[in-house]
């Protein structure tokens, strides 16, 4: 992104040569260049100076006054007034005085000020004074000798520039304070008791957006349908300044904003960002209460107008809701005429709105029934999802988590963790061949998980509903706008999805030549070797799991745990063992299994080795159906490194 200074330098140099070329041309031609398009013709009424800029109050003239007779050259009060700015250098070149007529050639720029004042013209480098008659030429020469006194305005230092709207600053302050408060959303009944000066309800988001800034726009209400409720991680405004390796601004917990994806009667979408939530707030209750209902938005502030190319995540969600399930209105046509939905192209832009600080102008009609426009998520079995053809498709499914792995990279802060889940359902488990038994789901840091969900994932006892996850390139990922829920949503179209419970223990695919790294599998084989140099075992405290037990000072035969401050009478033995197996299912590879578990079938098998540390005692022993996570696969040498795991 860098190089703004460089860019301006280049533009400036180009401009300077254009200016000198133009001036030279004017002198040599001594005629007004014939191209009249875009030329501003002004008559100067007043001049004063501010810093080095000459500010001139001018009248814009329709045509060049040399075509008018002298009698016509009277100030016509109806001609539009402009403020034309000239640089000191241009002003010196023009030597202009009141009543002079100036031709300003393009490129010049017009700026309209916030307070609706007179328009301002700048970048007026290509300006030329027009001499009206022979007399004026003589007058010009005499005037050139006397210096004209121009009033100079001294600018006060107290006059600073305000780049934000007042509301912007207040909002920034409130988000800095990170006060998570319950949403003060009134339902319809309350609003009747507090009559607000809100005008009639509109049904077009586009109209509301386009009327921004116009008189009375704050009172305009738009009625929309809430298609989805989710939370987005709070956007980082500015990076924290790190001084001496110690960040002074720490961002401990993850703060998120409650967001709605709404759709109006014309089918247009908008994302509305509401207040901050802390990660313990339950998104689930908002989903249940609000999805599918109507709500009224008023006095929204436009945060951004985003397009498909710039917000792929948002638009993949919008695409999953397209085309609308009921006909939508077409702008410009009367309400009664037939509305057509077929062949409507999916939206290419979307406004992101936010509430003005202070009040919340969103009223959800919780009492009313679900709108016809609402499209609940289409639930599929995992088998069907794996067969989806497209890329970046949003999909929803129920699944049971069988294994969870945190991607712990020390260079990455804890709030940017990625979690790898392995999930399955009956559609995958009940099939014999052809499709995997278990699917990997990657949960990125941008997918907000409540503490309740995190617990459920770690325990793995209940099925979890994954709503609007992304499928593409053979992977399922949970990103922004994906929501994980525990309760069955009120409405969902379960198109042929087999939501039956899993019968029996979860089975994994066996290790074979098609197995990929970072997946889980089952394996069986015979022991062909043990890495003696890395094999060791150690006792751990059976109360707290502390692996650093010490010898009891009083009695050196007993073990002592510092964390529990007590003797450990029955320590749990933990072992690390690296074993080489020969697996018939993947006979070409050397299979190396690392094991750190305290109590597994495998280890009990290997106990013999650990008791005697004699490799001979375990060579040839059969090891049956271990569940493992594949850490790496290499082809040269052909080696598979696995870690034994316990399924949830």
């Amino acid at each position: 992104r860098g190089g703004l200074a460089e860019r301006l330098c280049r533009l400036q140099n180009r401009e300077r040569s254009a200016i000198s070329f133009w001036r030279h041309q004017c002198i040599s031609d001594d005629n007004i260049p014939s191209d009249k398009s875009g030329v501003l013709i002004v008559r100067i009424l007043e001049i004063f100076e501010e810093c080095t800029i000459h500010v001139t109050i001018c009248q814009q003239l329709e045509q060049s006054p040399d075509t008018l007779s002298p009698e016509d050259a009277v100030i016509n009060a109806e001609e539009p007034i402009l403020k034309v700015l000239f640089t000191r250098e241009t002003a010196a070149h023009l030597k202009s005085r009141p009543q002079d007529v100036i031709h300003i050639y393009p490129p010049w720029q017009k700026l309209l000020l916030q307070n609706g004042d007179v328009p301002v013209i700048m970048n007026t480098y290509f300006s030329q004074k027009v001499l009206l008659s022979e007399h004026s030429e003589a007058r010009e020469k005499t005037h050139g000798l006397t210096k004209m006194l121009i009033r100079k305005n001294i600018i006060s230092l107290a006059q600073t520039f305000r780049l934000d709207d007042l509301d912007d600053e207040l909002q920034r302050e409130s988000s800095d304070n990170q006060i998570a408060c319950a949403p003060q959303i009134h339902n319809n009944r309350d609003s009747k008791q507090h009559p607000s000066a809100l005008s009639a309800v509109n049904d077009s988001l586009l109209e509301m957006v386009e009327s921004q800034g116009a008189v009375g726009w704050r009172e305009v209400q738009v009625r929309v349908v809430i298609q989805r409720v989710y939370s987005l991680p709070a956007r980082e405004g500015c990076r924290s300044h790190i001084q001496g390796n110690k960040p002074l601004l720490s961002n401990g917990g993850m703060f998120c904003r409650l967001c709605l994806l709404v759709q109006d009667a014309y089918g247009m979408f908008s994302e509305v960002q509401l207040q901050s939530l802390s990660s313990t707030d339950d998104i689930e209750q908002y989903c249940r209460k609000w999805e599918g209902k109507f709500c009224c938005l008023a006095g929204m502030k436009i945060l951004q107008r985003t397009t498909r190319g710039r917000a792929l995540g948002l638009f993949s969600l919008i695409d999953s809701l397209w085309p609308p399930v009921v006909p939508v209105k077409v702008p410009g046509q009367s309400q009664d005429s037939e509305m057509m939905t077929a062949n409507l192209p999916p939206p290419s832009f979307c406004y992101i709105l936010t509430v003005q600080s202070g009040e919340i102008h969103v009223e959800v009609d919780e009492e009313e029934q679900i709108s016809n426009l609402y499209q609940p998520p289409a639930v599929h079995g995992l088998k069907e999802i794996l067969r989806i053809d497209g890329c970046n498709e949003r999909c929803s499914f129920w699944a049971q988590v069988v294994y969870l792995r945190q991607q712990t990279k020390h260079s990455v802060p804890t709030d940017q963790r990625e979690i790898l889940l392995f999930v399955t359902d009956s559609t995958l488990q009940n099939v014999v061949h052809g499709i995997p038994k278990v699917v990997a789901v990657s949960v990125t840091a941008s997918c907000v998980l409540s503490t309740e969900i995190m617990e459920a994932l770690s325990v793995g006892s209940r099925p979890v509903f994954f709503r609007d996850a992304l499928w593409g390139n053979g992977r399922i990922i949970c990103v922004e706008r994906t929501v994980l829920l525990l309760q069955k949503p009120l409405l969902c179209s379960a198109a042929g999805a087999d939501l039956s419970e899993l019968t029996g223990p979860v089975r994994l695919d066996e290790l074979d030549s098609t197995t990929q790294a970072s997946s889980i599998c089952a394996l069986r084989g015979t022991v062909v070797g043990v890495n003696e140099s890395t094999a060791f075992s150690w006792p751990t405290c059976d109360r707290c799991g502390n692996g650093k037990l010490e010898l009891c000072p009083q009695d050196r035969e007993l073990l002592y745990c510092n964390q529990c401050s007590d003797i450990v009478t029955t320590p749990v033995l933990k072992m690390q063992l690296e074993v080489f197996l020969s697996c018939p299912s993947r006979s070409q590879s050397t299979v190396r299994v690392k094991n750190r578990m305290s109590r597994t079938v495998f280890l009990l098998t290997m106990l013999l080795f650990l008791q005697t540390y004699e490799v001979q005692s375990v060579l040839g022993k059969e090891v049956g159906l271990l569940n493992c996570y594949i850490q790496s696969l290499t082809t040269h040498p052909n080696c598979v490194a696995l870690e034994e795991i316990v399924l949830l």
């Binding site: 301006l8 800029i53 600018i155 500015c238």
Partner: protein, 139 residues
Amino acid sequence: DSTLPAVAEELLREIKKAFQETSHVPDELLLGLKFIFGPCAVPALDLVDQRSVTRVRSPSGRTLYQVLGSSGKLYTCYSSCHFCTCPAFGFSVLQKSESLLCKHILAVYLSQAMGACQELSVSEEQLTNILLAEEEDEG
């Protein structure tokens, strides 16, 4: 009443808007900066490119800006009025009224407009010390 501050403010607002919508500042606005602010414009943009502006905040909400100049010296700019501790400000703005701002103050506005400010939180005492340090230098 004056025109130039309103024009400068509007230009900076346009830059902020364009940047927020497209992450890009169009050429016309850059040239507008040059027109209004003259020789300050390019050095100010350079300071923005280098991320030289830091907003310093204290718990009570007091703020000021520190700009790392090209010479390596740190200049302080106030937020409540246009003031900078650099010599160019004293000369061009205060003495000669030739300029609205110095390149450091312009860099502060541009950094605000483009979200390029670094953030620093300090204690009340530290903020006071920064302000007093300037006074001592001048005294």
